[in-house]
């Protein structure tokens, strides 16, 4: 406060000081907003871990229905089983294989999340078989979801590839 000019000017000086201090305080407090957590990166890491684990898991006793006959596939990692089943030409019903996939994924994915799993073999001549599995809850139209994918070239001389994708999403 200026000593030579007192009265209402002293009050004005004080209010000016209060305004400056309020602005400084507001600046300080504005920096305290909650930090954004890297939810997306962590969700995608989780989806990758679940997909890789599932694909590496040994599957035994997997059945498919090809040309009207039940075929028991050789035991092996899920990725190889899927490639074997989905690369077959003609009419193949892979539904009996479906429960193997869901049995692997259901306990792996946290209970409060849902999942959508797809696997498909595509060759130079076009798509062959595909398989889709969902678990825990139906897939929502919107909301956060976290995806992981994997691709396996098949050694069948036809440039075929197995594409696998897993999409996870919180239920709420």
């Amino acid at each position: 406060m200026r000593p030579d000019r007192r009265g209402s000017l002293a009050l004005l000086d004080a209010l000016l000081f209060l305004t400056v201090v309020s602005a400084a305080s507001a600046l300080l407090l504005s920096d305290l907003a909650p930090r954004a957590v890297d939810v997306r990166g962590d969700g995608e890491r989780y989806a990758r871990a679940v997909l890789q684990t599932s694909l590496a898991t040994t599957v035994e006793g997997a059945l498919i229905l090809a040309h009207g006959q039940l075929i028991l596939l050789d035991p092996g990692p899920l990725a190889e089983i899927l490639a074997d089943a989905l690369a077959r030409p003609g009419r193949v019903n892979v539904l009996p294989l479906l429960w193997k996939v869901t049995a692997s994924l259901n306990p792996l994915v946290r209970e409060d999340w849902g999942y959508l799993f797809t696997a498909a073999v595509t060759s130079e001549t076009g798509p062959r078989q595909h398989l889709t599995a969902v678990g825990h809850v139906p897939f929502p139209a919107g909301g956060d979801n976290f995806a992981a994918t994997a691709r396996f070239p098949l050694a069948d001389g036809d440039s075929s590839v197995l594409d696998v994708a897993l999409r996870l999403y919180p239920r709420t």
Partner: protein
């Protein structure tokens, strides 16, 4: 023109309120900043323990945890210095459970993951991994 006594009092009160506001803001900013830094350190330690566990050469091979190595392991103290921690691996096919660490206390963070578990040469089962760290 002399100031009225009550105007001087108002001015003094405004200055004192301003100082108090500033001091309060500074205190809050320091406290929140410290809490945020600690939370960040906790999350970094959690991620470090999770990644170190899943990629540890003594416990895993070819991307899968070895059941035999898990059986042999008593604790993971070498991976989690200066933090309380708990790592749980559940084989979802057999129901087997491995638990490492003495539990967590204080402010805690938990991370979920998954890992395949290898038994011998040919059998691989799916496993849920839960990693928690505390203060």
């Amino acid at each position: 023109m002399d100031a009225e006594p009550h105007e001087e009092l108002f001015a003094l009160a405004a200055v004192i309120a301003g100082f108090l506001l500033l001091l309060g803001s500074l205190g809050l900013a320091v406290e929140r900043g410290r809490a945020r830094a600690e939370s960040k350190r906790l999350e970094e330690d959690l991620a470090a323990l999770r990644d170190a566990f899943l990629q540890d050469g003594q416990l895993s091979e070819a991307g899968c945890l070895e059941a035999e190595a898990l059986n042999r392991t008593e604790d993971l103290d070498r991976l989690a210095p200066s933090r309380s921690y708990e790592v749980r691996v559940t084989d979802t096919a057999t129901g087997l459970l491995w638990t490492f660490g003495g539990g967590v206390h204080g402010d805690t963070r938990v991370s979920l993951s998954a890992a395949c578990i290898r038994y011998g040469r040919s059998l691989v089962t799916p496993g849920r991994v839960s990693v928690a760290v505390g203060e």
